[in-house]
């Protein structure tokens, strides 16, 4: 039972990770008893499994993921929802939400009910929210955990400092709904910082000070 890689090591597709096929984790595959990486990314050793966290990746839906989407088509029995990337989500007709009317172009926030070979099915029950206004931002799906932060710490920092409500989709779309466009743009620029500088230490501090500066500055400009 040999492991050929260290924690946080960068690996490329096809690189041998281990001789023990039971250690095959996320983004790995087993070939003739050995574990290989399937993507370029960094190694994570967790619960005696070898995971490879991709450095960049298209969104791959899994059940109970929260996602944001845009209604692209209305069919007799369902809505088609653009989830960004290559995916089209299917939202069944809203039988349990008789008051809600959706139109093409509406942004919705919901969760993935089931994802399989027949498509991505979205939850049309109680949890479905229509985002009425705000700013829609698109980032790489691999950055979403960083934007959410440990137990949602980064998101609560963003919303507390700016007074905006955030809808964060695991598919890389984020809606910022705030009291003024200045504050929404302040959050957008803070998210841009997280996206680009997430590897530099002291990220939370910088995001907080950036937000304070932008929110205050934005309000002064707004008052003039």
């Amino acid at each position: 039972m040999t492991v050929y890689v260290r924690e946080r090591e960068i690996v490329v597709p096809g690189q041998t990770l281990s001789d023990d096929s039971r250690m095959s984790g996320l983004n790995t595959y087993v070939h003739q008893g050995k574990v290989y990486s399937a993507v370029a990314g960094i190694v994570q050793l967790k619960h005696s499994l070898i995971n490879v966290l991709p450095a960049k990746s298209p969104y791959r839906p899994s059940e109970s993921d929260h996602v944001l989407g845009i209604i692209t088509d209305i069919k007799p029995s369902h809505y088609e929802v653009d989830l960004g990337w290559h995916l089209i989500g299917i939202l069944k007709a809203l039988r349990r939400r008789p008051k809600m009317r959706l139109h093409i172009g509406d942004v919705i926030y919901t969760s993935v009910k089931h994802s399989g070979i027949r498509g991505v099915f979205l939850d049309s029950g109680e949890k479905l929210v229509r985002v009425e206004r705000g700013l829609l931002i698109r980032v790489s799906p691999v950055k979403i955990p960083r934007i959410v932060g440990k137990k949602g710490s980064m998101v609560s920092l963003l919303s507390n400092e700016s007074g905006c409500r955030l809808y964060v989709g695991r598919n890389g779309l984020i809606a910022v709904v705030g009291p003024s466009p200045e504050r929404e743009f302040a959050v957008a620029s803070a998210i841009r910082i997280i996206d680009e500088e997430s590897h530099v230490p002291g990220l939370t501090e910088r995001v907080a000070s950036h937000l304070r500066k932008r929110v205050l500055g934005g309000e002064i400009v707004g008052e003039e």
């Binding site: 946080r8 490329v12 993507v39 370029a40 960049k56 298209p58 990337w85 290559h86 070979i117 590897h199």
Partner: protein, 245 residues
């Protein structure tokens, strides 16, 4: 009137550009060079210069081509009209259509297409400057671009050409050697799996020569594979610590 052409290989076993028989041209690979693509790579192999860009997975067009159980791979190998000495018409020639197909088939054997049902992955290989070995260099760049796009693959693809020049087997023939040599054999492999994904042969080789050429190609492929790995590590070293949940 016959012009006496200079010999391609000297008595000392050096080639016209001063290389040893088993030496490759100077090689450079870079990942993530194009902003608007999902993944990209650049390769320089001597005077051969190629960009590769990957888009997707995205919706397959026309839509009836989409496969319900896997993604389809589209590949376009194209030479810029200024890439060769005599201007080349910008449209796709027969040769380019064929090379697009062999490169696509090579990549189809390593890319995990089942991960993205009903979608398409588009690969564009643009030859900026051509000086022999463009299909192999194009495949090298395309593999790096796919890995850069974060698309799951069984392995990278590395490819190099071997040739027969004045009776000797040489690695990575240059344009001059390709034109005046006796044989040219591009070889593409999935280096970790050890499987051959592309093999073509122009000219004639005896079975002993073929095995010798294949062995030499394997040597070149290992060098290219190391460079591809380095290009990807370099590309991603800046994002290493960005993944903490």
């Amino acid at each position: 009137m016959e012009k006496s052409e200079s010999k391609l290989i000297t008595e000392g076993g050096r080639r016209i550009d001063g290389r040893a028989l088993d030496e490759m041209r100077p090689l450079r690979i870079e990942a993530g060079v194009l902003d608007k693509s999902d993944g990209s790579a650049y390769i320089e192999m001597g005077k051969t210069k190629i960009y590769a860009a990957v888009y997707g997975p995205r919706e397959a067009h026309p839509r009836h081509l989409a496969q319900p159980h896997k993604a389809i791979l589209n590949c376009r190998y194209h030479m810029a009209s200024f890439s060769v000495e005599q201007r080349k018409a910008p449209g796709m020639t027969r040769r380019e259509v064929e090379l697009s197909k062999v490169i696509r088939e090579a990549l189809e054997s390593v890319v995990l297409l089942e991960e993205f049902p009903r979608s398409a992955i588009d690969i564009f290989i643009e030859v900026i400057q051509a000086d022999a070995g463009t299909r192999t260099a194009g495949l090298d760049a395309a593999a790096v671009a796919l890995a850069d796009a974060g698309i799951p693959m069984l392995d990278l693809c590395s490819a190099v050409a071997v040739g027969k020049v004045e009776g000797r087997i040489v690695l990575d023939p240059s344009e001059e050697e390709d034109k005046r040599g006796e044989a040219d054999m591009p070889v593409g492999m999935a280096p970790r799996l050890g499987s051959i994904v592309l093999l073509q042969l122009n000219g004639r080789l005896s079975s002993e020569e073929f095995l010798e050429a294949l062995e030499l190609a394997r040597k070149g492929i290992n060098i290219i594979y190391e460079l591809q790995r380095k290009a990807l590590s370099k590309r991603f070293s800046s994002v290493v610590s960005s993944q903490e949940e």
